[in-house]
């Protein structure tokens, strides 16, 4: 386990200086919309919170963290804070494989396709799409979280944004619960899967749906994706611990203790594998962590988008 103070100082410093936890310049992280026909005006703004875009970088950086956890060299992480954020961010960006970035950008493109097929009046403004700061909240850096969230909400309010469409549970929770509570700013927030509205019976498959903690417990949304899939003729095989009693994928511990994170992830994967069907996740952190445990996981948006193509 790393000293939490060292990790929090690095992440908080990066968010303060670059508005994201890895220090990677936003134009390098948020590229999914390039060359993809996206409306610039509409009723609700698609707000990715950059979480899916971060997954390849999380995977790369936690690989190094796992290598040095509980070793003598691991103690030197405290000096990482002396490296300028953009420099370490650029370095991380260079060593992160392009095909992984492409894969996760594809998930967001699928979400946009789903919204278009559902005739949702939405638009995308990359300049307003920022990281929500939720990791700072989870790590206990309340002051850092509130400052960052104020910045994000302030930009959205100044642009007159009232409605947001989200793609991951952590950002959704931040916008629905944390922003009103700690920043005093509210938006009308819907997840993309609550807006799915197209007819297709092309699913013809069985899947194992892993409910993330934030949709299952904190936001009580587990039934929605299940219904969406059922309507598309995709059967969700029952999982032992699901919905409000879903089990964690272990992802939230990955920055402080990759070992612990993998241990918890392995246990959840064992449980999910009991069904014998392909695992489907709807959270970038779950997706990344279950993959680390060796699972072949698909994103919910991929399964829904496949029904469009057939």
């Amino acid at each position: 386990m790393y000293n939490p103070k060292d990790i929090i100082d690095i992440i908080a410093g990066n968010v303060r200086k670059t508005r994201n936890p890895f220090g990677i310049p936003k134009f390098l992280v948020n590229r999914w919309h390039k060359g993809f026909d996206m409306p610039g005006k509409g009723d609700a703004m698609l707000f990715t919170g950059l979480m899916y875009q971060f997954v390849p970088y999380i995977e790369k950086s936690t690989k190094y963290l796992a290598k040095y956890e509980d070793t003598f060299l691991g103690n030197f992480i405290r000096f990482a804070g002396y490296i300028p954020s953009y420099l370490s961010g650029l370095g991380l960006s260079v060593i992160t494989p392009g095909d992984e970035k492409k894969k996760f950008n594809g998930i967001l493109q699928n979400i946009a396709k789903i919204l278009k097929a559902s005739k949702v009046d939405f638009f995308y403004r990359p300049d307003l799409d920022d990281y929500s700061g939720v990791l700072l909240y989870d790590l206990g850096d309340q002051e850092g979280f509130v400052k960052h969230a104020r910045y994000v909400a302030g930009k959205l309010k100044a642009a007159g944004i009232k409605k947001l469409i989200t793609v991951d549970p952590h950002t959704t929770y931040a916008l629905i619960v944390l922003f009103p509570k700690y920043v005093g700013e509210s938006f009308e927030v819907k997840t993309y899967f609550e807006l799915v509205n197209f007819q297709s019976k092309n699913g013809h498959r069985h899947v194992t749906l892993h409910d993330p903690c934030f949709y299952g417990r904190y936001l009580d949304l587990s039934e929605v994706p299940k219904k969406v899939l059922t309507d598309l003729n995709v059967e969700c095989v029952p999982v032992r611990n699901a919905g409000q009693f879903t089990n964690c994928c272990g992802g939230p511990a990955e920055s402080i203790s990759p070992k612990l994170s993998t241990e918890v992830g392995d246990r959840r994967l064992e449980e999910l594998n009991l069904t014998g069907e392909k695992i489907v996740a709807m959270c970038p952190i779950c997706l990344g962590n279950l993959r680390k445990s060796g699972a072949d996981v698909e994103d919910l948006s991929t399964v829904i988008a496949q029904c469009l193509e057939k």
Binding site: M1, P4, D138, G140, R217, N247, C248, P252, R267
Partner: protein, 100 residues
């Protein structure tokens, strides 16, 4: 020997909702916690109740094992919200680090 601070629950107030005293230490949170780690989070909540601030600070690192998954809060028979208490302790410790 631990030094007890009877006003510690009050000291925690700016960092979390005042639910720690509702806990009757049944251990459901520990039984359901995916960490399967000693007496976590029950032990930490007990430390708040008896005002063992030093013990919390000595063992602060353990707090960041918590995944904030919410299973403890979901199953707590006293609605003491153990998950939020642990998050509040993290905030308390971070504020302490920043002050020192």
């Amino acid at each position: 020997m631990a030094l007890l601070n009877p006003n510690f629950a009050e000291e925690m107030e700016p960092f979390t909702e005042d639910t720690a005293l509702a806990c009757f230490n049944c251990g459901t949170c520990t039984a359901i916690c995916p960490l399967i780690y000693e007496h976590f989070p029950r032990k930490m909540i007990r430390y708040i109740q008896i005002g063992a601030k030093d013990r919390i600070l000595e063992n602060a690192q353990e707090l960041w094992r918590c995944l904030h998954c919410g299973l403890c809060t979901q199953t707590c028979p006293r609605e003491a919200n153990p998950g939020e208490i642990i998050l509040g302790l993290k905030r308390f410790v971070v504020a302490n680090w920043r002050r020192s």
